[in-house]
């Protein structure tokens, strides 16, 4: 029946079938990109690398205690978009962001804003685990120390322990806190990076393909962790695994060539997407 849908020549076309999904030519966002009580809001965001526009007029909210997944073909702008959320794009030569992005109602691109503090509030975990070449303990303690979050060794010890516990790593490392972080397995290193982000009391954690370097077991542990972290934080995760997006997120945003094509409840997007481009992508029909 698959084939029946493809073959336009045979059989009569159903007008209903054709009109049900938004056609591939439509570049406007379908679905509802807004939430009732947002943690972050993005309005008409554009990102340029020199002359090239990599994100095109994207508006999207990040809710509280939600995991929102960013999916789409490679190069569609997922990483570029999430880097806007903590101004990581500022560090890229020739990159320019327009539009408005707020965190708890405050414009994060205001000139007076403390970017270092912002990056603590909106933490980030990358594709390849990148612990500092220091001990496990120091990896966690570094941030709170420079942000002045603790005033005693005891308080710092406690913060390190709690962060490692929240990241589900404590039991595995409590007896070797002073060994190098780089000596851990890939999955453990990624949880160490999550613990490092947690230690500076973030509100939002950005994760850019956090499991793509991990085996299925380590991936499952991280996914389980993400689900727990949702109680305390908003999580924005970029993933190229449709299964991962459907497993961990409550909302899903689909990007295509810099446009935000569709946003919706994850259960809806993966069972009944509204846009033909979303359907193509999530069902494995790549152009």
């Amino acid at each position: 029946m698959e084939q029946a849908l493809i073959r336009e020549s045979t059989g009569r076309q159903s007008p209903t079938l054709v009109s049900r999904r938004v056609s591939r030519d439509n570049r406007q966002t379908v679905g509802d990109p807004f939430v009732a009580d947002p943690r972050m809001t993005c309005r008409n965001v554009n990102v340029y690398y020199g002359d090239k526009r990599a994100i095109k007029n994207v508006s999207l909210d990040v809710g509280r205690n939600e995991v929102i997944a960013m999916i789409g073909p490679s190069g569609c702008g997922k990483s570029t978009f999430i880097r806007c959320l903590n101004r990581m794009n500022d560090t890229i030569e020739g990159c320019r962001v327009t539009g408005e992005i707020t965190l708890d109602g405050q414009n994060i691109y205001d000139s007076g804003l403390d970017v270092v503090a912002l990056r603590a509030q909106v933490g980030m975990v990358f594709q390849k685990p990148n612990p500092f070449p220091k001990s496990i303990y120091e990896n966690i303690a570094y941030g709170p120390r420079i942000h002045g979050l603790v005033d005693s060794k005891a308080a710092l010890d406690e913060l390190v322990e709690n962060s490692l516990k929240k990241a589900g790593l404590w039991d595995e490392v409590k007896d070797r806190l002073h060994e190098p972080g780089t000596g851990l397995s890939g999955g453990q290193q990624q949880r160490l990076c999550i613990a490092r982000a947690i230690a500076v009391s973030p509100e939002v954690i950005l994760m850019d393909e956090p499991c793509s370097a991990l085996d299925p077991m380590a991936t499952a542990i991280i996914e389980d962790l993400i689900d727990e972290l949702r109680q305390h934080y908003s999580i924005v995760i970029v993933t190229h695994s449709m299964q991962q997006a459907s497993r961990v997120s409550q909302r899903t945003a689909f990007f295509h060539l810099g446009d935000l094509i569709e946003v919706g409840a994850t259960s809806q997007v993966f069972t009944n997407p509204l846009h033909e481009l979303t359907e193509d992508y999530i069902t494995g029909r790549f152009g």
């Binding site: 698959e2 493809i6 159903s14 079938l17 009944n272 997407p273 069902t283 494995g284």
Partner: protein, 221 residues
């Protein structure tokens, strides 16, 4: 319109599943047509053919189950693929039951005495012909994924129910008037009930088809 999957063997699996459903549809249709023939001609060879062909339909149903589980495990289907696969299981089961019912009807019909109940038999023939038209239409709609036709079939079942109600009244009347008709009357009643159920199964297939195409549930509007 749907494009082809990037992975060709995925399309091949989906196509195979589709062909098995359509094959089941064709065979269930043959059984239903035979039940109608048995009713109008009361020919024993027809009843034998029905019995002979039942296992083949059951085997196809099992094949559909296996294909479905295989695709689910291998492909982790999403969206329309997922909707097709999940409803294939249900559609195969509806078709199997249609064939079962048709066989049951033929069994009862062959045991009828010689037809003093001309008017009720007329109505049953009407029901049978109507459900056959419904099945033809839903199978064609399935082939072309035509959701408008699916909706039409869905509403055709209202006519099945209407004839069924008329038939019940008539049978009740005849059986009250002439006590000698009770045996045949009961058999016709069972046959009529089966056609009424076949109408429901076809209506369910129309709903499955509607769900595949739209992702929504159709409930009359």
């Amino acid at each position: 319109m749907l494009r082809a999957h990037t992975v060709k063997s995925y399309d091949e699996q989906m196509e195979k599943l589709n062909s098995r459903i359509l094959e089941m549809g064709a065979r269930a249709r043959t059984q239903l047509a035979r039940s109608l023939e048995a009713l109008s001609r009361r020919d024993h060879t027809i009843a034998q053919e029905i019995v002979r062909d039942e296992p083949g339909i059951d085997a196809l149903r099992e094949e559909v189950d296996q294909l479905t589980v295989g695709i689910l495990a291998m492909r982790q289907p999403m969206a329309i693929d997922l909707r097709i696969i999940v409803t294939s299981l249900k559609t195969a089961s509806e078709l199997e039951r249609i064939a079962d019912r048709a066989a049951g009807i033929a069994g009862h019909v062959m045991q009828l005495n010689c037809i003093p109940l001309r008017e009720p038999v007329e109505l049953i023939l009407q029901m049978a012909a109507h459900t056959l038209r419904m099945l033809d239409k839903v199978l064609e709609a399935y082939r072309t994924m035509d959701v408008d036709d699916a909706v039409e079939v869905w509403h055709m079942d209202e006519e099945t129910d209407r004839i069924y109600q008329a038939l019940l009244q008539q049978l009740q009347h005849v059986m009250q008037e002439e006590s000698g008709t009770i045996n045949d009357g009961m058999r016709l009643l069972v046959a009529a009930k089966s056609y009424e159920r076949i109408g429901d199964h076809v209506q369910n297939i129309a709903e499955h088809l509607y769900y595949i195409v739209t992702g929504d549930t159709y409930c009359g509007r």
